[in-house]
């Protein structure tokens, strides 16, 4: 199969099929020199049944930076993200190979407390998913989980979390209202506040703005910029402009010949978007496909 694309000069340029291209490893030596590494993904492969969904992925996630994962649908971005806090464990018949080191300790190693992993690696989902309880209880849910029941302490945690999520001013007078009654953008920031309340080190965001309108999207993006001073953020996004706007580093993923998700290129965001080293990355970021 071949894909033909009409160029502006109306001449047909033929690109060989993207899936048949070999994935070339791009060396990025020295890229992360001088950066503290929060998380290191080492030869990570994920299998559903016997199907390989992720193929030997190795990436380093630098501390206090925003790392974006981009790529076409079905390339395993979300699978990769969900591996980082072991949400994949919920999927039946899943099998994981390789290592993910959080502060140099493998989270898939023996004797690792999954609850501790999930507390340190928070997650924000594609669709806002507030719990069916009040705004206050939504944020207090995590701290209560970890045994905090002192009302004054909870009050303080809820307030600081909501302030950090830039939502406090909008909801401080209706903390007892259901978390489901506020707008979609506010709900998503509530979910961010909820994630922050358990004092995570990393925040994973799975297309956090794809269900939101542009104004709410901008708010989330601004929020990410302020959050990155204290947290390490990994964001999966379909929206390349968003990746270009918010992230410091970008990983580009695609499926290889066996339809397994593969890391094509990892680099500083400006470099990925203006001067990609890989042909497939260039095709993708310039909008030739995807």
């Amino acid at each position: 199969m071949e894909i033909s694309i009409e160029t502006r000069e109306n001449t047909s340029v033929k690109y060989p099929s993207l899936v048949s291209l070999p994935v070339l490893p791009i060396s990025n030596k020295g890229l992360l020199d001088g950066f503290e590494i929060k998380m290191e993904i080492l030869n990570l492969s994920v299998f559903y049944n016997k199907f390989r969904a992720l193929n030997e992925i190795s990436v380093k996630i630098p501390t206090n930076r925003i790392t974006a994962i981009i790529g076409p649908s079905g390339c395993g971005k979300s699978t990769l993200l969900r591996s980082l806090n072991r949400m994949n464990d919920l999927t039946p018949k899943i099998h994981i190979e390789g290592e993910i080191k959080l502060d140099a300790k493998n989270i898939y190693g023996k004797g690792v407390d999954i609850v501790d992993v999930r507390r340190r690696v928070g997650m924000v989902f594609q669709r806002p998913n507030p719990f069916p309880m009040s705004i206050f209880e939504n944020v207090a849910y995590g701290p209560r989980l970890y045994g905090i029941s002192n009302r004054m302490l909870l009050d303080e945690i809820v307030e600081t979390s909501l302030v950090k999520a830039a939502l406090w001013d909008e909801v401080k007078d209706k903390l007892n209202q259901s978390g489901m009654t506020i707008s979609g953008g506010q709900q998503q920031r509530l979910c961010i506040a909820r994630a922050l309340a358990v004092e995570p080190e990393i925040i994973l965001m799975d297309e956090p703005a794809s269900a939101l309108d542009p104004v709410a999207t901008i708010k989330i993006e601004e929020l990410m910029q302020t959050l990155k001073t204290n947290y390490t953020i990994v964001i999966v996004t379909h929206n390349m402009q968003q990746a270009a706007r918010v992230s410091d580093f970008t990983a580009f993923m695609m499926i290889n010949q066996e339809r397994a998700g593969t890391l094509v290129e990892f680099g500083a965001t400006p470099q990925i978007f203006t001067n990609p080293k890989n042909r497939q990355t260039e095709d993708y970021v310039t909008g030739r496909f995807g």
């Binding site: 199969m1 071949e2 894909i3 033909s4 806090n85 949400m87 919920l90 999954i114 609850v115 501790d116 992993v117 999930r118 507390r119 928070g122 997650m123 989902f125 594609q126 669709r127 998913n129 719990f131 069916p132 309880m133 849910y141 995590g142 989980l145 970890y146 489901m180 009654t181 979910c191 909820r194 994630a195 358990v198």
Partner: protein, 325 residues
């Protein structure tokens, strides 16, 4: 892409001949319209016929029973046969007691089983559970009655409210399990994941997030199960039997007077044979006294109102809650 295009043009070559031989859209217009009208009026008429029995029953029961409903009917116990007056307080009490027992017995395991069926539908136990509830909901209620008679009446030696409550609980269980399971499945997966991602264990997620999110539907299912159980007669014939001298109020009073503990009093009440509204209806309707037959119509009216109101409340409840979201 070019390949697919050429394929398309090849297949499109067949279409013109089709058009010429088989399509007569314009000619059949009048005929189609007539048939459509005919079918529409037929379905409308038959739908009307389907709801006529309901309104007929309600209307007739209101007409026959309405005239015999008065305050005494609700607050007095039966007078001796043939004497005018008296009420059915005993069977109202019995119905309430047995529904409470059945709810207490059926709800906790029902909800737990529903969670299991919703979370692990493909495990052997999950499959067995769903098949089992389907079968159980089809078991004739009289069979449940005789089962409870053999298990809870015969060994004890006497009929009791407790045995009646257990029989009703068994009948309620499938409704509760299936509706709760459906409601749990309707809770968005990502809400559950949101809780798990914070490090919450599955049980806490189920209790604090999934259950509250599904609670409206669960309550609806519970109300419908309750309405069904409260209207059952057959299983109670074998378990609660009926007891027109039953007076919970008097038993509580004399119990307190005699210095008995609360548990002792409750135990006394539960171990007595009791009446229920459907049982009373069944027995009164067979009697040769006009007064009793009239009262059985009034009981029918009370029962129908109960079922109607539970259904309407359940519906309004769901609508008001889902509307808010």
């Amino acid at each position: 892409m070019e390949n697919t295009l050429s394929n398309l043009s090849k297949s499109s070559a067949i279409i013109p001949s089709l058009e010429r031989h088989y399509i007569h859209a314009k000619n059949g217009y009048k005929r189609r319209k007539t048939i459509n009208l005919l079918m529409l009026s037929m379905t409308g008429l038959l739908s009307l016929m389907a709801i006529v029995p309901l309104f007929w029953i309600i209307g007739y029961v209101f007409y026959k029973g309405g005239q015999f409903i008065n305050l005494d009917f609700f607050i007095q116990t039966p007078r001796p046969m043939g004497i005018v007056g008296g009420g059915v307080l005993h069977s109202i009490e019995g119905t309430i007691i047995m529904t409470i027992i059945s709810a207490l017995i059926a709800i906790p395991p029902g909800i737990m089983a529903a969670f299991y069926a919703a979370y692990y539908p493909n495990t052997p136990l999950g499959v067995a559970l769903r098949f089992g509830t389907d079968v159980l909901s089809g078991v004739p209620s009289i069979v449940v009655g005789i089962f409870c008679y053999a298990l809870f009446v015969k060994p004890v030696g006497h009929y009791s409210a407790l045995a009646g409550g257990i029989a009703l609980a068994i009948l309620m269980l499938p409704t509760i399990i299936r509706t709760t399971e459906e409601m749990i499945k309707l809770v968005p997966q990502n809400m559950r994941e949101g809780s798990l991602a914070l490090g919450a264990p599955e049980w806490r997620t189920a209790l604090k997030v999934t259950l509250p999110a599904a609670i409206n539907g669960i309550i609806t299912g519970f109300l419908l199960g309750l309405a069904r159980a409260a209207g059952e007669t057959a299983p109670l014939l074998f378990t609660a039997l009926g007891n027109d001298r039953f007076e919970a109020g008097r038993m509580i009073q004399s119990g307190l007077h005699g210095g008995q503990s609360i548990f002792k009093i409750i135990g006394n009440i539960l171990s007595q044979p009791v009446d229920s509204l459907p049982l009373t209806l069944y027995k009164y309707a067979q009697q040769p006294f006009a007064e009793r037959v009239n009262q059985s119509w009034a009981v029918a009216l009370v029962l129908i109102c109960f079922v109607l109101f539970t259904n309407i409340i359940a519906r309004i409840w769901v609508q008001s809650r889902t509307g808010k979201r």
